[in-house]
Every structure is written in structure tokens, then in C-alpha cells.
């Protein structure tokens, strides 16, 4: 009976000590993961800023004109096509065409 009580007591002490040690270990782990999270968040923010800078209209226009030789459509080249329906006799259809391309036919 005494042996049992001593064993149980030792177990309790062991559990208590183990719990304390594990708490410290988990504390360090949580800290490490928090640090990792901060680093990843920092990387995410850096990428967001880069993406925003690269998608700036200023830069896109520069690349389009200087690298790909594109230019703004001239007046009359872009027309909005209107459809005539029962409900809306002149509603705008979301369709744009370059008039020069259509007229020339690109045969």
C-alpha cells in the first residue's frame, strides 16, 4: 500500500515536472513559429508592394509602347457596338472592336 502511494506520488511529481519542461519547450516553439509568421508576413507585404509597383499604369504603358510597340487607339478606332432588343432599344453590348481591323478584314 505504502509502495503504491510512493509510486503514485512520484508519478505526480514526474507529471508536474514533465508538464513544466514541456511548457517551456512549447513556449520556445511558439516563439519560433511566431517569428516565422512575422518573416512570412514581411515577405508577403514586400511582394504586395512589388506587385503594386509593377502593375502601375505608368509602367504598363511604358512596357506596352517601348517593348511591344503598342499605341493608343486613334479616334474612331474603338467603337461600342449597340444591340437593339425589345426591352432596351439601344443598350450597349460589352464588346469593343478595332474598326480598322474590321474594315481592312486582314485578309
Amino acid at each position: 500500500m505504502k509502495m503504491l502511494a510512493v509510486t503514485a506520488g512520484l508519478c505526480l511529481v514526474f507529471v508536474f515536472v514533465w508538464e513544466r519542461v514541456d511548457m517551456v519547450r512549447l513556449g520556445y516553439q511558439v516563439e519560433r513559429l511566431k517569428h516565422e509568421k512575422v518573416v512570412l508576413e514581411r515577405e508577403r507585404d514586400e511582394l504586395k508592394v512589388k506587385f503594386s509597383a509593377l502593375s502601375s499604369p505608368d509602367r504598363i504603358a511604358k512596357v506596352a509602347t517601348e517593348k511591344f510597340g503598342m499605341s493608343l487607339p486613334q479616334p474612331g478606332q474603338v467603337v461600342m457596338v449597340q444591340s437593339k432588343t425589345k426591352d432596351s432599344p439601344a443598350s450597349v453590348v460589352e464588346l469593343r472592336i478595332a474598326r480598322n481591323d474590321v474594315l481592312s478584314g486582314r485578309r
Binding site: G27, E31, R42, P57, A61, V92, I97, V102, G105
Partner: protein, 571 residues
């Protein structure tokens, strides 16, 4: 018998032991009771670390969610001069990374101090390079830095935040209470090696980030406005320029461009003159653009009709011992032609027909002489004198846009009221405030200030202003396929040396809206001190056309004219 020597030794030994225990007991009482508070505090200082944390500043995005300003954690570098062996060597190795002169760094590192800032809020790339360097006596601390990824785009509206993260100009300043993150001091536990442990409850200690703002401006429309304005200002060799694009139905600002531009990422070398938002802070005499509003007042008060005949006095009329000129000799003309030909004499006669009290009332009603209350800092109310302060010529002068100071935002708001059927809207820039998780907290809705003129009057003025573009001074504002309504203005500036109107310094402007029958855009273009040709119809109207046609195309607004297409098969 004096006891045995062994007993005496035992007593001595006991005494020594008792003394020893007494010393230990005294020390124990001293530590545990007498010095308890002081030592506990000392232990806490060693085990605990007090850190001042600030939540990230809120993000600013355009109406389509494109990021215009955001915070990022970047390294700041400090030195511990007392812990350095060779300040010269450290300065030499840090100099190229920090982009600070070696002698400057060395001077800092030779100070008799335990902490000195070497460089704050570096670029992320600099931080990456520093991570791979030996850093004895040098430390890094992460701080939030404001980034404006679009560079100069929208800089005058965005403003900028200072080194300590507080908004100093523009939206950053106006919305400082919403944008700034929560500041909080937190206590962390640390072990013997200085590592932070036991972060129990720390999640609740993290300070909240600032709120995010959604603005009404569209970055593409803004880009178009800035590009065209820059070109026009450069071409005219002008001092500065302003373009504002409004949604006339709501008062939402779609673009606000100022030239010259600046980069909010690098403001330290600039003066306030460069980042001043001239659209709100600078007044100018509007010149003939004012005639559109005087015409609206005259039509509303029924002192004029579009067909009312007025005599142009052959381009010369005497008022209060001064002569008013027109740019050409004009005879009889209709009231509509007075506006279309921009006759000063016709406008003066219209003003006189209205009378000073009624004209003043309409000026106030259109919002002149008072702030528009746009949600940006630094706005001025302009200059509108009370009729009791008017001179004998004032009625005529104000009717043709002199003796009155307005801001571009006032003028475009007034003309937007004509575009939307006669209602003055409050212009605004921020449409929504969101929390850090993106959840909407507050929506800012369009706000009606007052009705200024009736829908009939607004329609009549619109028709007259269309004539300005089709048959008058604003021909260069015409956009093929669209009905444009607008008014040109060319105002002489006061020569600061003489105090009189200059014959060389002008402000050329154009204000209008498009499409005239269902306006989607109200726009003002102001070019300050253009060299050479300085007529509003020459320097400002073409900017209106170029911005207008690109923006209408971008918004997918269909042309007023039916287009006949010849579809050709590829086969």
C-alpha cells in the same frame, strides 16, 4: 572543575554554528523582507522585456482595390559604440550598404554613448544584405515604413507619412485617426539568454492595425489625367497645372492631377511648395469660365433667355471710367452667343441685369467663397467679397470672372451641378473605411449640398455650353462621337511687382462635362502661366479632349453617334 577541553570546543563550535546561522538568517530576512520589493523589481527587469509596439498603419486602395499606400516592416540600424572594437572598420563595412558616408558613420560610432541610430527605415534589399554581415556592436530593429508603390501617381492626394509614421499631408493627414495603428506597451518574459519565452496571452497583446481606406479615385483615370497634364504643362512651358475629374452625379473625385509631380517616397529634399495640393489651396481668377455660372443665374432668374438679343458695343464698352474689351468687335448677338463667343461685354450686361444681390446670392449658392468641404486638408474658401465692398465696376468684373478668387475644386463642383441637373454635390475622395481584415466599417455616401438651379435651367445652360464647343471658343475640347459641354477661360494674373493685371501672365482653363446629355465626367483643366499661346481654348481645351476621350473609352461609354460598320469576312 572547569569542564573538559572537549566540551569547551563543542560550545565554541556550537557558537560558531549559531553565529553562522544567525548571519544566514539575517541575510535571509534582509533579502526576503527588507529588500524584497527592490529585488523583485530588479528580477522583473532581468526576466521581463518591455516593448513598445505599434499596429501597422492602414492601407489605402483605389476604387478597384489597387494598393496605393501600405506599410511594410523594414530594418533600422543602431550602433552600440561602447561595444565596438574598431569603429572605423565597422563604418567602412556598413557605409556601402547603408548608403551613408564612412566619415559620418564613424563619427556616430565614436560617440561615448551606448546607443546611436545609424540609419532608419532602410529598403528591404538593404535589410537582406545586412542579414549576411557580421554585426558585432551593431543591431537591427524592425520598424514600419510607408510605401507608395505607384511613385508620383496621385501623390498630391495621398500626401505622405513622416518618419515616425504620422500622416503629414493629403489623405494620410486628413485620415490620421483612422489610419494609424494602435500603440501599446507589452511585457514579454525572457530567459537567461535573452530569448522571449512564455508568450502566454501575448496574442491579445498585439496592437491592432489601423483601418484601411478605399478612395473614389481610379488609378487608370488618374494616370491618364497626369500624363496628359504633364505633356501640356511641358509643351506650354507653364508654371503648373491642375486637372480634376469628378463624377457629376455623386461628387466622387475620379482623378486629381497636379503638375509638377513629386514622389512621396522621397520627400525629404522637397519643399512644401512642391507637395501643395493646388487644386484646393490655390485660388485664381476664373476668367470666362465664370460666365457659364452667371448665365445659369440669369436664366434661372429669367432676366435672360437663350434668344435674348444683346449688343456687343463693337468690342468696347465704358463702365465706371474704365473700358471693357472683347477679343473681337461684336455687334448684336443672342444671349447664347454671348457665352459661346465669350463676350466680356455681354457677360457684364448680364451681370448688371441680375444685380449685385442676386449675383452674390448665386455665387454663394454655387459654392464660391466657402470651402467645398472635400475630405482633404489645406482647402481654402476662395475670395468673394460682399456687395457692400464692391466697387462701381465689380458687378461687371465678377460677371466676366475677375475680382473673384476660386479654387479649381470649387469651379468643377459648380459646373458639375449644371451637369447633373442643378444640384451641388459635396466632392469627396474617401468612399469607405475598412478594418484591418477588410470588413467595412463606414461607407461615405454622396452628399447633396443644395439645389442651385432648376433642371430646366441646367438643360438650357448645357445646350448653350455645347455651342461653346461646336461653334465657339472651346472647339479644341470636342471629342469625336460625343456631345461635349464646356467653357473656356483665359484670365490675366496680377503682376506682383506692379499690383496691376499683367499682360504676360495668364491662367488658361477649360471646364466642362461629357457626354452632355448624360454626363459621366465633369472636368476642369487649369494651366498656370503658359508661355506663348495662353488662351484656355488653346492650352486647356485639348487636354480636356485627350483625357475625356481616353477615359470615356476606358469606362466603355458608348458614342452618341451611330457607327456604321462594314463587316468583312476573312474568307
Amino acid at each position: 572543575m572547569a569542564g573538559s577541553p572537549s566540551r569547551a570546543r563543542r560550545y565554541v563550535l556550537l557558537l560558531v554554528m549559531l553565529c553562522g546561522f544567525a548571519v544566514v538568517l539575517f541575510r535571509l530576512v534582509n533579502l526576503q523582507v527588507l529588500q524584497a520589493a527592490e529585488l523583485t523589481a530588479k528580477a522583473d527587469r532581468q526576466h521581463q522585456k518591455t516593448v513598445s509596439l505599434e499596429g501597422a498603419r492602414g492601407t489605402i486602395v483605389d476604387r478597384h482595390g489597387k494598393v496605393l499606400a501600405m506599410n511594410m516592416e523594414v530594418p533600422s540600424v543602431f550602433g552600440i559604440p561602447t561595444a565596438l572594437e574598431s569603429p572605423a572598420k565597422t563604418a567602412r563595412s556598413l557605409s556601402p550598404v547603408l548608403r551613408v558616408r564612412t566619415d559620418e558613420l564613424e563619427k556616430k560610432l565614436r560617440q561615448d554613448r551606448s546607443f546611436v541610430w545609424l540609419a532608419r527605415k532602410l529598403d528591404p534589399e538593404q535589410g537582406h544584405r545586412l542579414e549576411h554581415m557580421p554585426m558585432e556592436g551593431i543591431g537591427l530593429v524592425m520598424e514600419g515604413r510607408r510605401f507608395y508603390p505607384k511613385g508620383p501617381l496621385l501623390a498630391h492626394v495621398m500626401g505622405f507619412a513622416g518618419m515616425d509614421g504620422e500622416g503629414l499631408e493629403g489623405i494620410e493627414r486628413r485620415y490620421e485617426p483612422q489610419l494609424h495603428g494602435e500603440k501599446r506597451v507589452v511585457i514579454l518574459q525572457r530567459d537567461a539568454m535573452g530569448r522571449t519565452v512564455f508568450p502566454k496571452g501575448q496574442a491579445e497583446q498585439v496592437p491592432a492595425a489601423g483601418h484601411s481606406l478605399v478612395i473614389t479615385i481610379d488609378e487608370v483615370i488618374q494616370y491618364i489625367a497626369e500624363k496628359e497634364l504633364e505633356e501640356a504643362v511641358t509643351k506650354a512651358r507653364a508654371k503648373s497645372g491642375t486637372v480634376i475629374v469628378l463624377d457629376p452625379q455623386t461628387g466622387a473625385v475620379l482623378a486629381l492631377a497636379i503638375s509638377p509631380r513629386f514622389d512621396p517616397n522621397a520627400v525629404s529634399s522637397l519643399t512644401a511648395d512642391r507637395w501643395r495640393n493646388r487644386a484646393l489651396t490655390d485660388t485664381y481668377e476664373p476668367g470666362s469660365t465664370m460666365k457659364a455660372l452667371v448665365a445659369a443665374a440669369a436664366l434661372e432668374e429669367k432676366v435672360m433667355k437663350p434668344g435674348t438679343m444683346l449688343y456687343g458695343e463693337n468690342g468696347r464698352m465704358m463702365i465706371a471710367n474704365t473700358v471693357i474689351h472683347d477679343h473681337e468687335k461684336l455687334g448684336w448677338m443672342t444671349f447664347a452667343q454671348v457665352i459661346q463667343k465669350s463676350s466680356n461685354i455681354g457677360a457684364a450686361k448680364t451681370g448688371m441685369a441680375l444685380g449685385d444681390q442676386r449675383l452674390y446670392r448665386y455665387l454663394q449658392s454655387f459654392g464660391f467663397g466657402q470651402k467645398t468641404e472635400i475630405d482633404l486638408p489645406g482647402e481654402v474658401g476662395g475670395l468673394v467679397k460682399h456687395p457692400r465692398e464692391w466697387g462701381r465696376r465689380s458687378l461687371a468684373s465678377i460677371s466676366m470672372g475677375q475680382e473673384i478668387g476660386v479654387t479649381p475644386i470649387q469651379m468643377v463642383s459648380a459646373v458639375a451641378a449644371l451637369a447633373n441637373g442643378g444640384v451641388l454635390m459635396k466632392p469627396y475622395v474617401v468612399s469607405e473605411v475598412r478594418d484591418a481584415q477588410g470588413k467595412p466599417l463606414r461607407q461615405i455616401l454622396p452628399q447633396v449640398k443644395r439645389r442651385v438651379v432648376s433642371p430646366e435651367t441646367a438643360r438650357t445652360v448645357t445646350s448653350i455650353l455645347e455651342g461653346v464647343v461646336t461653334d465657339g471658343t472651346g472647339a479644341k475640347a470636342a471629342i469625336p462621337g460625343f456631345r461635349v459641354a464646356g467653357k473656356t477661360g483665359t484670365a490675366q494674373k496680377i503682376d506682383p511687382r506692379t499690383g496691376a493685371y499683367s499682360s504676360t501672365l495668364f491662367v488658361g482653363s477649360f471646364v466642362g462635362f461629357v457626354p452632355a446629355d448624360n454626363p459621366r465626367l465633369a472636368m476642369i483643366v487649369v494651366i498656370d502661366e503658359p508661355q506663348g499661346e495662353s488662351w484656355g481654348g488653346t492650352v486647356a481645351a485639348p487636354v480636356f479632349r485627350r483625357v475625356g476621350e481616353q477615359v470615356l473609352n476606358y469606362l466603355g461609354v458608348s458614342s452618341d453617334e451611330p457607327v456604321k460598320l462594314a463587316l468583312v469576312s476573312n474568307r
